[in-house]
């Protein structure tokens, strides 16, 4: 059964694998996973997706370990982390990896998303890859903001107050959402436990289900890379049309052969884009690059964790007239929007992000054209860059304002 995969001299191994394969089908699944043909050009940029996965696994592992010491109660949470900080060096590293891992993760997700956008990888039939990706981004942002409540130091307390207050500007049900999240009118013990429940069970269960969907869809449609893997573009097809079937489909060993159909024949020229010009095996050619990029990022996380450690401010107290709450850096654009929005437009704090989310979710549905080259689709790329500049400008304004305090 597996003669195609293994040479004869490894017969015992093959017999064992055959036995397992006959009962589970796992070996074929593994080989399909490992020897998927992936595009060769631009492969370093495609490593950002795996890096995201590795950083999420970092969050999962360090998060699980943290539940063995963190106590989700307003009277104990801060003390448990204070204990870690003062007396438990390894746990402090774990907490640092959880914190800086989250920061690096958000940054890498942003780059992964940017790469996907530039290479037009969200186009038919990959619309739902993009949609699940956007939902994953929202869930990760949800993890980041709920996680920020948990230390119950001053920073966490005011993050909790402001964050739970934002939905109160929803028409009609706003105050109800706030009261349900807080467990009452004021931030208190129930707020912390409810948010802890969101952070360790509710959001992660959705997150991991969607990661499964994201990866399933990726493999279902295959990796076709960006326009650099093809000759010409949809608008400017190449003069020489070669036979797609003669393109190298994969490098050795040819474990599993992918069907060579043009992906989705919408245009007469689609044959050109049926398969990338050059491919290589996912394992080990792409995994090597993935691994190296992940290693560098994890080294950054680990380095920050051991050299700076996770900060912990004073125990939370609502009674302060000197403390200036500062948002997490990834919420700076939203925070700056709060500053710039006058009181009569206050509900913009909800509508602007909502519009942003709808634009992101809708992208593959209003940019339906098959063109993948970013230079050939200015109608989409230019407005997107302007939005990005707007977000960066808000971040710059926000950080300037906070540094001047």
């Amino acid at each position: 059964m597996l003669k195609a995969y293994l040479p004869d001299r490894r017969r015992i191994q093959r017999q064992v694998l055959d036995w397992i394969e006959e009962r589970t089908g796992l070996v074929e699944l593994l080989y399909k996973g490992l020897y998927e043909a992936v595009p060769k050009r631009g492969a370093w940029a495609y490593a950002l997706g795996s890096a995201t996965l590795v950083l999420i696994l970092n969050q999962l592992i360090t998060g699980i370990v943290l539940t063995t010491i963190y106590v989700p109660s307003t009277t104990e949470a801060w003390a448990s982390l204070e204990y870690i900080k003062k007396h438990d060096e390894f746990a402090q590293i774990v907490r640092g990896m959880h914190l800086y891992g989250a920061y690096v993760l958000l940054f890498v997700i942003g780059m992964h998303m940017f790469r996907t956008f530039i290479s037009g990888s969200y186009k038919r039939p990959r619309e739902l890859n993009w949609v699940t990706g956007v939902l994953l981004l929202l869930l990760v942002l949800g993890m980041a903001i709920t996680g920020a409540f948990l230390p119950w130091d001053t920073a966490a307390y005011w993050t909790a107050v402001v964050t739970t207050n934002i939905p109160s500007y929803t028409p009609v049900i706003g105050h109800a959402i706030r009261a349900i999240w807080r467990g009452g009118n004021f931030v208190g013990p129930m707020t912390l436990v409810r948010t802890y429940g969101l952070h360790i069970w509710v959001i992660p269960s959705m997150l991991f289900a969607l990661i499964g969907a994201h990866l399933y869809l990726l493999r279902r449609h295959g990796e076709f890379g960006s326009h650099v893997n093809y000759r010409g573009s949809y608008r400017n097809p190449p003069d020489v049309v070669e036979d797609v079937a003669e393109r190298p489909q994969r490098v050795e060993p040819p474990a599993v052969h992918r069907e060579l159909e043009p992906p989705y024949p919408a245009l007469p020229t689609d044959d050109l884009w049926a398969a990338p010009l050059e491919v290589e095996d996912f394992y080990p050619s792409q995994t090597f690059k993935d691994g190296l990029v992940s290693l560098v990022l994890m080294a950054v996380v680990f380095g920050l964790a051991i050299s700076y450690g996770a900060p912990l401010e004073q125990l939370a107290t609502p009674g302060t007239v000197t403390y200036t709450p500062v948002p997490e850096w990834f919420y700076l654009p939203l925070d700056q929007l709060l500053v710039l929005t006058p009181s009569y437009l206050i509900s913009m704090v909800l509508w602007v992000p909502l519009a942003g989310v709808l634009l992101l979710l809708g992208l593959p549905f209003f940019d339906r054209d098959a063109e993948r080259n970013p230079l050939e689709r200015p109608a989409i790329v230019v407005p997107a860059m302007l939005i990005l500049v707007f977000l960066l400008a808000l971040t710059a304004l926000g950080s300037g304002r906070l540094f001047n305090l």
Partner: protein, 158 residues
């Protein structure tokens, strides 16, 4: 009704009943805070305010129960006592009506400033600048002789 049709309907009905068994207690418990407050209403002594200078907001601290379920130690809250020249006394909270950040009295400005998003309130608590949509809330209060008492309830919902 065919046997098959019956099985289809029964499967759906059974699913709905099991779903309700999950939904009723779970949703009921989650939205419970909408229907009752478990925080006991208390009056707390702020102090003798007869020496508070006129038109100069002065910080007092009171402890209030933030009981949402089980008992936890009380939390300290800020009362900004403002003595007006007409003899009126206001017991402002320092909860900004914009995002509930802690506002502070800024003597050079002569206004309350919210450090988060730059909200401003004047001496009477009126929102005079920045994003806040409503005046600075006051604690419900009463005077007994020169002594001010406040209750853990704001004069308006924020």
């Amino acid at each position: 009704m065919t046997r098959r049709r019956f099985e289809v309907l029964a499967t759906q009905a059974i699913g709905a009943v099991i779903g309700c068994m999950f939904a009723v207690p779970v949703v009921g418990w989650l939205i419970d805070p909408l229907f009752r407050s478990r925080a006991p209403q208390v009056w707390r002594r702020v102090g003798d305010v007869s020496r508070v200078p006129y038109e100069s907001p002065t910080v007092f601290e009171v402890s209030f129960p933030v009981q949402q379920s089980w008992k936890v130690p009380e939390s300290k809250y800020v009362v900004y006592v403002v003595r007006h020249r007409d003899g009126g006394i206001d017991a402002f909270s320092n909860i900004c009506t914009h995002m509930q950040c802690p506002v502070r009295w800024e003597p050079p400005l002569g206004e309350f400033l919210c450090p988060c998003h730059g909200g401003l309130y004047n001496l009477s608590g009126v929102n005079v600048g920045g994003p806040p949509p409503k005046p600075l809330p006051k604690w419900k209060s009463r005077m007994r002789g020169p002594t001010l008492y406040v209750r853990n309830q704001l004069n308006e919902s924020i």
